[in-house]
């Protein structure tokens, strides 16, 4: 799986990395139980500090996406996290902002839903 960091982005490196790992899991590029590179290896591969990778692994562990074994390192959890109340609050909050913003700009409901659908189509590979 290829990780690509945009060092010019306003999005923090650890946030970009975390999103790409979740994307990899969602798309099946990272299988359940699959082992991730060690913090040192991945840090070297993408040219960032080992602590930044370690931070991401621990965030994703706390969210329930990864498990970390002292011996083998990080791997994709066999059981994905649930849709918690906290997570629902998060996506509703973010969706509201995106929808309010696009609504002001004249984007209609159908157009917005079609964008969502196209992302799902890409995700479930057509």
């Amino acid at each position: 799986m290829i990780i690509k960091i945009d060092f010019e982005s306003e999005i923090p490196i650890y946030e970009q990395l975390g999103r790409q790992i979740i994307e990899g899991i969602a798309k099946g590029e990272l299988k359940k139980g699959e082992q991730l590179p060690s913090v040192r290896q991945l840090a070297e591969d993408i040219g960032i500090n080992l602590h930044t990778v370690n931070k991401v692994y621990n965030i994703l562990k706390n969210e329930g996406f990864l498990t970390i074994d002292r011996r083998k390192g990080a791997m994709v959890n066999n059981l994905m996290p649930e849709v918690t109340e906290e997570f629902m609050d998060f996506i509703v909050r973010e969706l509201k902002f995106i929808i309010h913003n696009s609504y002001c700009r004249g984007m209609g409901r159908e157009e917005f839903l079609n964008i969502c659908k196209s992302i799902y189509d890409e995700l479930e590979n057509k």
Copy 2:
């Protein structure tokens, strides 16, 4: 229009304020051409610094939501910003993250789309 800032939130104050103004415009609580409180007035009302309000007004001016007249202060723009390529990149990026994340957690396409629809229903006050 009532502004409510959560000082415990991890979301910056200026971000919270900006989102609520856009929400107000989307919901019609703030009409086109309507005058907003002065930076000093609003800052005092919600208990924050005038520069934080000023920052928000200028961000929203640059995005095309507000116009700022030296005499009358900030007001809601009569012409809302367009769905620019930059904006499309933004919402696709954010939607991808939300969808990948919820997809991992077992939320299906229909459930997700229903959340979006309910936000639209609230927005168009059904």
